[in-house]
């Protein structure tokens, strides 16, 4: 049974984007590492961990409700490694409430590895990774309960979220947590902005681990992303200008149909 093929233009764009990213990774590997602008939300991660250390309380890190095949969840786990590493250095507990059962083991490995890298593998506590529920309301209840019972100092919400974003972030706000959120779910961003201290919007979630690790290869990938976006922007602008020019010149409707047709094929 055959399945629908992605449009040719999407394949070409995907190849082009990958090529640009790989090219920049190669350049970074050769020593030409681009600089990354400061992202306040990511800098706040350090600040939050510092606050938790001063208060002697744990931090809570939610990797969202996405499955392991969700890029946001993978990005969230990638950031978790660095957050956990910093926490481990200052002997701060990291509590990771989980929505998707398969993420339990991935988060466990990430946390274990972070504590090992920080040189305190014995401080790793498997029970800090807690599967709560596969129901969004129940998950939100569980996270809120953990905030209260564990007297959490800082909350990190990285990944894919649904309506529970506000339930969690608002409850954290009421308890005075310093909160950093990052999601590419467009409709949850306003909720986080209202309730959190710092928010990473959209692609900043994917950039976070590169920014935190300062790894040349990851930073190179970031530069490749920007180059790909510049090309997309150029395509968009060309289309807008062409359509405007045709409208001003009084060209008949549908003159750009061949172009839009090819793009949709």
């Amino acid at each position: 049974m055959a399945r629908m093929e992605p449009p040719v233009v999407i394949r070409v764009l995907a190849v082009l984007t990958c090529s640009l990213i790989l090219m920049h990774i190669y350049r970074a590997k050769r020593g030409r590492v681009p600089s990354v602008r400061r992202i306040a939300g990511i800098d706040a991660v350090e600040e939050s961990v510092g606050r938790a250390t001063e208060m002697g309380r744990p931090v809570l890190y939610s990797p969202g409700i996405g499955r392991l095949d969700n890029m946001m969840t993978i990005a969230a786990l990638s950031v978790l490694r660095f957050v956990a590493e910093r926490c481990a250095r200052f002997l701060v507990r990291v509590i990771v409430p989980i929505f998707e059962p398969v993420v339990v083991s991935a988060a466990g490995d990430t946390l274990r590895e972070a504590f090992r890298t920080a040189g305190v593998p014995e401080r790793f506590e498997p029970s800090d990774i807690q599967f709560l529920s596969k129901d969004e309301s129940a998950y939100a209840m569980g996270v809120t309960g953990l905030m209260r019972s564990e007297r959490v100092a800082a909350g990190f919400y990285f990944g894919s979220f649904g309506y529970e974003s506000l339930l969690i972030a608002e409850a954290g706000n009421r308890q005075g947590l310093i909160q950093v959120a990052a999601t590419a779910d467009f409709f949850q961003i306003p909720f986080f902005i209202c309730a959190c201290d710092y928010v990473l919007i959209g692609e900043e979630l994917y950039a976070a681990s590169a920014y935190l690790s300062k790894d040349p290869l990851q930073v190179g990938a970031l530069a490749g992303q920007d180059a790909a976006k510049a090309i997309l922007l150029l395509l968009l602008l060309s289309g807008v200008l062409a359509a405007m020019a045709l409208a001003v010149l009084g060209a008949p409707d549908g003159l750009l149909n061949p172009v839009s047709g090819i793009l949709a094929t």
Partner: protein, 519 residues
């Protein structure tokens, strides 16, 4: 440790490469012209025009995207070719062309067909030909039924020469009832929708395909629930009267009949029957059979029919590429693993709270969690296995409907309160950005409802007209903010996320994050 890491990175790369190639390469290679079957035919003389090129969705329902029209000469089956293909240069049929109806005209032939446009909508399109072999489609559709009436999906239609012009009949929905509407044209290019309903289906019936016969009768496929029957009748007074069921011969290949096309002329009836076998492997494909006779009661397979009754042997099926063969079962395997994950989560939950229930902080809470879980499992097993018991039913209702759902609903209800408090915080003007946000939000909120009219009705009822003008005036900025500014921002975030997700996938595939951690 290093060997293990290398193994993981190698496996990730190989598996990822399979998926990447499956994404980039065509999903199938080879196969004959009509490798996906033949359907929606028309017959003019010995020329059979039919639809093909669509991929099956696992049933006999063909997918319209990618469909094209082919032709076959029944007198010389080696003459079998594409009539024309959907083109990216034509906005109204570049997603697909199907369901041809061919008419003889003074200058040669005209073919009406359904074009699947840039927006996925079906429209009536036209192609012309001098010899019936080389076809020239027009660049734009000639009729868009959805602009004239509520058409579920413009698919079944019939065209006949009528009173010096042409008459189009098509199915639509009117006041919740399946109906047939019409349109007329003098030149097949400009169509005028008719006034009123031509035929209204009886309660519970749905018209699925139709054609007007030269005798003035209509042949209609009527669906009632899952059952489908073909009837002939006269259109009179907005109804199909004198209905008589059409006895459709069933060819050997057809486990299910899809449609019939009747052509009559020169004292001869010719019936095209389309059907297929939903269980056929590797994919179900439609076939066409042709029956001929001097009356509808004496129809026999046309000379040259294949042993299974079809007019011609279908082309070889296409073969999928190795990467698609691998990734499909792999995707299924991942789904299964994900399902087992629920069990894993349950074990994690029980292990954690089980330990705490015996020894640890908040023993009472953990005992309650373990107890509730055990109760839910026991009640579910008892309720769903064996004979129904009112006692277990009541327990089930208590646990799942009265407790679990109520608590979930309460949590969801809390969202409203949290929305208010979060909105209140957002509205507090602490910076210039917050001021802009508050101003924009106020404008949109006030423009959602006729605020000016409401306020005026309280303080100055006489000024209702001015208030209505104010309400109308604020609609323009509101619409601009919601549909232009907001849409642009959404797309900008979307583009960033699209590129970011690709970069993230590439990093995982090439184990860049792993490498960073190893160093």
């Amino acid at each position: 440790m290093k060997a293990k890491s290398l193994l993981i990175r190698g496996a990730t790369f190989v598996v990822g490469a399979g998926w990447v190639l499956a994404f980039l390469l065509p999903t199938e290679v080879g196969g004959g012209l009509d490798r996906h079957g033949m359907y929606a035919p028309d017959l003019v003389g010995e020329r059979l025009f039919y639809t093909t090129g669509t991929r099956s969705a696992g049933s006999l329902s063909a997918h319209k995207k990618g469909a094209f029209i082919a032709m076959l000469d029944l007198g010389n089956v080696s003459l079998r070719r594409r009539a024309f293909s959907p083109s990216p240069l034509r906005r109204d049929d570049f997603n697909g062309a199907l369901r041809p109806r061919v008419l003889r005209t003074e200058s040669g032939f005209a073919m009406l067909y359904i074009g699947v446009g840039y927006d996925g909508r079906n429209r009536l399109c036209l192609a012309v030909s001098e010899d019936g072999v080389e076809w020239q489609p027009r660049s734009e559709a000639v009729f868009s039924p959805h602009e004239a009436a509520t058409v579920g999906e413009f698919r079944p239609y019939s065209v006949v020469a009528d009173a010096g012009g042409f008459r189009l009949l098509y199915t639509a929905w009117h006041e919740g009832r399946s109906v047939i509407l019409d349109a007329r044209s003098d030149d097949l290019v400009t169509w005028q929708p008719g006034e009123g309903v031509v035929v209204r289906a009886e309660e519970g019936e749905v018209f699925d395909s139709l054609q007007l016969l030269p005798s003035g009768e209509a042949l209609v496929a009527i669906e009632v629930g899952d059952a489908r029957r073909f009837v002939r009748g006269r259109i009179e007074g907005g109804a199909l009267v004198d209905r008589a069921p059409l006895a459709v011969p069933t060819p050997a290949f057809a486990k299910r009949l899809e449609e019939v096309v009747l052509r009559e002329g020169a004292g001869r009836f010719r019936l095209l029957v389309v059907g297929g076998d939903p269980a056929e492997t590797p994919e179900p494909r439609f076939r066409i059979a042709l029956y001929e006779g001097e009356s509808l009661d004496s129809l026999a397979p046309a000379p040259g029919s294949q042993s299974d009754g079809s007019v011609v042997t279908l082309g070889e099926p296409a073969t999928s590429t190795l990467f698609h063969d691998i990734t499909r079962p792999a995707s299924d395997f991942i789904q299964v693993v994900m399902t087992f994950g629920v069990g894993m989560g349950l074990i994690s939950l029980l292990a954690l709270h089980g330990r705490r229930a015996v020894k640890g902080p908040r023993r009472g809470f953990s005992t309650l969690v373990v107890g509730s879980l055990a109760a839910m499992v026991v009640v579910q097993f008892a309720h769903r296995s064996g004979a129904p018991s009112p006692l277990w039913g009541r327990f089930n209702d208590l646990l799942f409907y009265n407790i679990q759902q109520s608590i979930g609903g309460t949590m969801f209800g809390l969202l409203a309160a949290y929305l208010l408090s979060a909105a209140y915080r957002a509205f507090r003007v602490r910076s210039f950005d917050a001021l802009v946000l508050a101003a924009v939000a106020s404008l949109i909120i006030l423009a959602q409802v006729p605020t000016a009219q409401f306020v005026t009705s309280l303080v100055a009822p006489g000024a209702a007209e001015s208030a209505a003008a104010i309400d109308a005036a604020v609609q323009a900025p509101r619409n601009f903010l919601l549909t232009v500014a907001n849409d642009a921002v959404q797309r900008a975030v979307g583009f960033g996320v699209f590129v970011g997700a690709i970069a993230m996938a590439l990093r995982v595939w090439l184990s860049l994050d792993e490498r960073a951690s190893l160093e």
